[in-house]
């Protein structure tokens, strides 16, 4: 099999970068910042190179790199990429440099450690998306908890310790369940394969053969861990705290990439490995997703803290993604994948914008603001575009994802009812309500607070961070085929794996 | 006439239990050490008894090991007690609870 080292380079570069960073003396802030940016940009360029060499018509994993790691347990180091992970990898490498740039003004102390953690985090995220061995996947999954914990805990807001600990333990509790499941899965599979292995592709052949109740348990074990990460109602309560207390850069990466790992997990692991269980639980999870959409939107509506509002909106948006995944039609799964990217971009941009204004006024209370349109027009424009993208206005990216998901859910054979899409569609109204109402209260209206007059508009660096995101927002909205084509074969393959799993031979 | 083996063993057991009781009940650290020595000596007695009754000299050689260890332990232990005393001005082990949660 082809042994391309590119993906491993992708992982090694940030590691190398972060290690080198440790040797730079702490006082040299400018060097640290530029070096961090340099490393993350190299990673980004490498991922773009991989993107252009990616064959969209091939549905199997590409750029695979494999070697034996732990001989006795037959655990390999195996990484590979397919359509869906390609898009997510590019999203990750795209957001990281932007986040680093945006943090130049907000992270003032311990810059070296911060950049180190960000690079470390990048490795973890990329590893999750490219690993094709369950054990390796688990390592990377846990690995990105640590830097996130530190980022929230050191550079965060007032209740940062509480939020960081909550985030860490909550997620870890789920993942421990997943570890048990992985081991169990590998052992059980060895009955079929003859040898203990955690190689994903081999498990794809075997796991669907398990009987229904085994599949159900394993599905739940994996699923709870992913559900916590997504976050799926009712496992979402760590999210508002983590987002609000994290520094801007942390929130952007958290919302932009980390949340996608949960949905990615569902698509990569739960669905193909346990197809019978997936169809069994599809309606239940879809109901939770829809509750998440509506509940998330309603609670977002009444928040007074802007960041918390956006955090709850994430719950609502990812509810759509989960609905799309479990509706199991090509439209809805494609919609889900595209919506993952969209959410990363729009919500990432929203957090950036909230962060920018927070840096100036040190408050996120909506009531503090009002009528800032006249004072910071550029900011208001960006906020409007991003809010509309989040609302799902056609012509921008959000519509493509939401429309495909709703359309797919409507005609889904697995869900078999129109009510799912019907209820989810009301989420569309609610999204407009909470976002535009916030926009109106913050941007429009009379100026109630004289201190607002002192606001300065976005400076060049901040605009520089936002513009690429806006470009993609419009690009995906107007011509999504560029990206849909990349993930199309993968979607087909996943749906195929769920609907036509390898059947046990009758002995 | 030989003394029956049981007498030695019972004496040994009594010595040992006395030692245990002393360790568990007495408050003074030095007395606790004395009880520990008592327990060690009861073990010595048992070893010598069996060695004599079985005609095997291994038991007696082992007694030397035990005595050496006891001496070393007593030396170190007393040194610790002196260090503790210097800090806490007491050898009452009820009051030495720095490791309490």
């Amino acid at each position: 099999m082809e042994n391309s080292l590119l993906l491993t380079y992708l992982l090694l570069i940030p590691v190398a970068g972060s290690l080198i960073l440790l040797f730079i003396k702490a006082g040299n802030e400018k060097l640290i910042k530029y070096f961090g940016l340099f490393v993350s940009t190299i990673v980004f360029l490498l991922s773009i190179y991989i993107y252009f060499n990616f064959d969209s018509d091939n549905s199997s994993f590409q750029f695979v790199h494999q070697f034996k790691w732990i001989e006795t347990l037959n655990i390999h180091y195996k990484v590979g990429i397919d359509g869906m992970s390609m898009l997510l990898v590019v999203l990750t490498t795209f957001l990281t440099p932007l986040t680093l740039i945006s943090s130049w003004s907000s992270v003032k102390k311990k810059v070296k450690e911060f950049t180190f953690f960000m690079l470390f985090l990048e490795v973890g995220m990329l590893g999750v998306f490219v690993s094709l061995d369950l054990f390796l996947f688990y390592i990377f999954w846990e690995a990105m908890l640590i830097p996130m914990y530190f980022i929230i805990g050191i550079w965060g807001g007032e209740r940062r310790i509480y939020a960081a600990v909550k985030f860490f333990i909550y997620t870890m509790a789920g993942s421990l369940l997943m570890l048990v499941a992985i081991i169990w899965l590998a052992i059980h599979a060895s009955n079929y394969l003859g040898v203990f292995t955690t190689d994903l592709e081999q498990l794809y052949e075997v796991a669907p053969l398990f009987d229904q109740s085994t599949q159900n348990y394993l599905f739940l074990a994996f699923g709870i861990s992913f559900a916590i990460k997504v976050p799926l109602f009712p496992f979402h309560t760590w999210l508002p705290d983590a987002h609000v207390e994290a520094p801007t850069a942390g929130s952007v990466i958290l919302a932009g990439v980390l949340l996608k790992m949960g949905t990615y997990g569902f698509l990569r692991y739960n669905l193909p490995l346990f197809p019978a269980a997936s169809t069994h639980f599809a309606s239940f999870i879809s109901i939770l997703a829809i509750i998440g959409i509506i509940y998330g939107a309603l609670v977002a509506m009444v928040q007074t803290d802007m960041k918390k509002l956006v955090a709850y909106s994430s719950v609502a948006h990812l509810g759509f993604v989960i609905l799309g995944i479990f509706a199991l039609t090509p439209e809805s799964v494609q919609g889900a994948i595209i919506q993952m990217i969209n959410h990363g971009l729009s919500t990432g941009a929203l957090f950036l914008l909230v962060g920018f204004i927070y840096e100036r006024t040190h408050t996120r209370e909506i009531s503090y603001y009002g009528g800032i349109a006249r004072i910071v027009p550029v900011y208001s424009f960006f906020l409007m575009v991003v809010s509309l993208s989040s609302v799902g206005l056609p012509g921008l990216n959000g519509f493509v994802g939401e429309f495909l998901i709703l359309l797919g859910s409507f005609k889904s054979g697995v869900l078999n009812s129109w009510w799912y899409a019907g209820f989810a569609a009301t989420g569309v109204i609610l999204a407009a309500v909470y976002l535009l109402w916030m926009y109106k209260r913050v941007v429009f209206g009379k100026i109630v607070n004289p201190k607002i007059e002192d606001l300065t508009d976005l400076n060049k660096r901040e605009v520089f961070v936002l513009v690429p995101i806006i470009i993609f927002i419009v690009w995906i909205g107007v011509y999504p085929s560029t990206f849909l084509n990349v993930s199309e074969k993968t979607t087909g393959k996943i749906i195929q794996q769920v609907q036509n799993p390898p059947k046990a031979e009758l002995k | 006439m030989q003394i029956p083996i049981e007498y030695y063993l019972i004496l040994s057991a009594i010595m040992f239990s006395t030692g245990v009781a002393g360790v568990l009940i007495r408050r003074n650290a030095i007395v606790v050490f004395m009880s520990v020595e008592l327990m060690l000596n009861s073990a010595n007695l048992t070893l010598v008894t069996f060695s004599s009754y079985l005609g095997n000299s291994i038991g007696q050689i082992f007694v030397f090991f035990v005595m050496a260890v006891a001496a070393a332990e007593a030396a170190v232990g007393l040194a610790i007690i002196i260090a503790l005393f210097r800090n806490k001005l007491t050898v009452n082990i009820d009051e030495i609870n720095i490791f309490k949660w």
Binding site: T237, F410, K411 | -
Partner: protein, 629 residues
């Protein structure tokens, strides 16, 4: 044809020319396309231009493609033509406003979205235009975003418009999904041809039609989603003219017309459309009769006229409905622009009780307003008469006498409130301090558009003269649009021919009704103003009910908005999320904490307790060994 809809955002002061010029150019392009299409034989008049594939997933294949056929040409002519006129007017109206450039940018964006909506060849692109005009309406209504408006702010009005529209949009979306499920396509041509060839039960058609219609009620302000339109009057008057009189609100009517084949296959839905249409027309007219703000009267009038259009749609008279769209665009835009002229010269005063006798100050405005008022009242030979009469006639022949009757009564009310407005504003004694406010005629850049529209309102009706009058030429408008509605009309087989005599009779009755309304208004407001006061005190409760718009807004607030917000705030957030879910998590954490505090008591730090435990352990082990021997 594709050049018809570029939109650029600029920030110079020469914008007015660029903005209007862009639209003017589009108009010329459309006219050119119109004449070109005119030269083609009737069957070949559909022309599709495919730009690129937009969404291609699974079985779904949606392109950005535009379709030019008779119906879209008519709509495009209206939009660009009236749009152009309004742009020119706005140069004068918005003069001096510091966000001049932003206004024109939004206006152009609006036309772009509207053109997308009209020219789309599939549902999704139409939805893009649909939402796009909703967005522009939000931006334009809330244009002066830091001013107050009635009980809340202007931007709140914009928000209300967007949200109410969105609610309707859910209906549209569901309709779209159902269409996709049933017909496996969202492309107009494919769906419509399959609608006739597939065997689909009527229930499905009805369901689709109802969903689509919900979307239409949102956008075109019918019951129950009309509440945003009166509030939308907070925006600048040209906005009201363009969006809420001529174009955006007619998007719903256009949508029903475009999907006529689906509606025609679902008679139940048609009936619902007609009922809601006629009821809304009546309902809105009753409110309009007592409003005191000039723009509010016009707003309710718009809702009422839109009701007529839907009545036509429900009666299967699709081209009559579109005809009314066109004539309504003329006279309603004219009315709004005229109102704008008055408001401008009266220094933003909008209460008609403070007007009076303006005709000597603003003759051109007065004249054009009068033309529009006559047109809307349905007095021949102005355009409004032809279109309204056609609708009334078809509602009689295709549905029933009751509809015609309610329609005629509404027409009488229309004439009444329109002329009440006319008389109170322009005639009689001036009820304001003539020394303080100096009303003056508006500048030419504003009056010329008024004149243009007045001419159109006057003669525009002649395109659609019913067969009754023009003999062998037939109804030109109708026959132009016929190929579009052919398949729909085939499905609706209406029996019974009615005699010409009946047609004449009804026509005359409606004319008499209109004139009666005008005279009544003249009597009350010109001769005996105290009659109005007496009436309002005699029927005080009815008066108050009408004045307060039947308290519908308050009802909505109490039943929908407030419960939603309060429940979310107090229950969902404070209790459910914070206490129950989060509480559960924190509870687990503190439970573990308590457990640990319990267990750590073992660490006493006293050596003897450790020794004790060791002893006990050894004893247990000994016992175990002895027992198992």
């Amino acid at each position: 044809m594709n050049g018809a809809f570029g939109s650029k955002i600029k920030n110079e002061k020469v914008i007015g020319i660029i903005g209007s010029g862009a639209i003017g150019l589009s108009f010329l392009v459309v006219v050119f396309a119109f004449f070109e299409t005119l030269s083609l034989p009737a069957e070949q008049r559909t022309h599709i231009v495919d730009l690129f594939t937009w969404l291609k997933v699974g079985g779904l294949n949606v392109s950005i493609a535009y379709q030019v056929d008779q119906l879209s040409l008519v709509m495009a002519l209206i939009v660009t033509g009236v749009g152009f006129v309004i742009h020119v007017y706005s140069i004068g109206y918005m003069h001096g406003d510091k966000a001049f450039w932003r206004f024109f940018a939004y206006l152009n964006l609006f036309i772009f979205a509207m053109m997308n909506l009209i020219l789309a060849d599939n549902f999704v692109l139409m939805f893009l235009g649909w939402e796009g005009v909703g967005l522009c309406s939000y931006l334009l209504i809330g244009f002066w975003y830091d001013k107050d408006f009635e009980k809340s702010t202007i931007s709140a009005a914009g928000l209300k418009a967007f949200i109410v529209n969105r609610i309707g949009d859910v209906g549209f979306l569901l309709g779209m999904f159902l269409i996709y499920l049933v017909f496996n396509s969202l492309n107009f041509a494919e769906v419509f041809s399959r609608a006739t060839t597939f065997h689909i039960s009527e229930h499905i058609f009805t369901l689709i039609a109802i969903f689509l219609f919900i979307g239409a009620t949102g956008k075109s302000a019918q019951i129950p989603l009309y509440v945003w339109l009166p509030d939308a009057m907070a925006g600048p008057t040209p906005v009201s003219a363009l969006i809420h009189a001529a174009t955006m609100v007619t998007a719903g009517v256009y949508m029903v017309a475009r999907t006529s084949i689906i509606f025609a296959s679902a008679p139940t839905a048609m009936m619902i459309v007609a009922v809601i249409g006629v009821f809304t027309a009546f309902f809105a007219a009753t409110i309009g009769m007592v409003q005191n703000d000039i723009k509010k009267v016009l707003a309710y009038s718009t809702i009422s006229q839109l009701g007529y259009m839907f009545l036509a749609m429900g009666a299967g008279a699709f081209s009559a409905g579109i005809f009314h769209v066109m004539t309504h665009a003329f006279f309603k835009a004219l009315l709004f622009l005229g109102a704008g002229s008055v408001i401008h010269s009266m220094h933003e005063q909008q209460d008609i009780r403070h007007y009076g006798g303006l005709k000597k100050y603003m003759p051109i405005t007065y004249g054009t307003f009068l033309v529009a008022a006559i047109a809307i009242s349905g007095v021949p030979p102005l355009s409004g008469f032809f279109s309204k009469d056609e609708i009334l006639w078809y509602s009689y022949t295709n549905i029933g006498f009751v509809f015609w009757l309610i329609g005629v009564i509404t027409a009488v009310m229309t004439a009444f409130y329109m002329f009440r407005l006319q008389f109170l504003t322009f005639h009689g004694k001036s009820r304001f301090d003539e020394k303080k406010t100096h009303p003056h005629e508006s500048p030419k850049v504003m009056t010329i558009p008024l004149i243009i529209l007045a001419i159109l309102a006057a003669i525009g009706g002649f395109i659609g003269i019913p067969a009754l009058f023009s003999g062998e030429h037939g109804n030109l408008f109708h026959s132009w649009l016929e190929p579009v509605f052919k398949s729909a009309e085939l499905k609706l087989s209406y029996f019974g021919s009615h005699s010409h005599f009946e047609e004449y009779l009804f026509m005359i009755i409606s004319i008499i009704g209109a004139v009666a309304g005008i005279l009544a208004a003249g009597y009350i407001y010109l001769r005996q103003p105290q009659v109005a006061d007496r009436l309002s005190t005699r029927f005080k409760s009815i008066y108050r009910l009408l004045l307060n718009k039947y308290y519908v807004d308050e009802a909505y607030d109490a039943t929908v908005v407030n419960p939603l917000v309060n429940t979310s705030k107090s229950f969902l957030w404070k209790i459910f999320d914070s206490k129950i879910i989060d509480g559960f998590i924190n509870g687990v954490a503190s439970w573990i904490g308590n457990l640990s505090s319990l267990i750590r008591k073992i660490q006493t730090g006293v050596v003897q307790s450790y020794a004790l435990v060791m002893m006990i352990g050894i004893l247990i082990a000994l016992f175990w060994i002895i027992m198992s021997l």
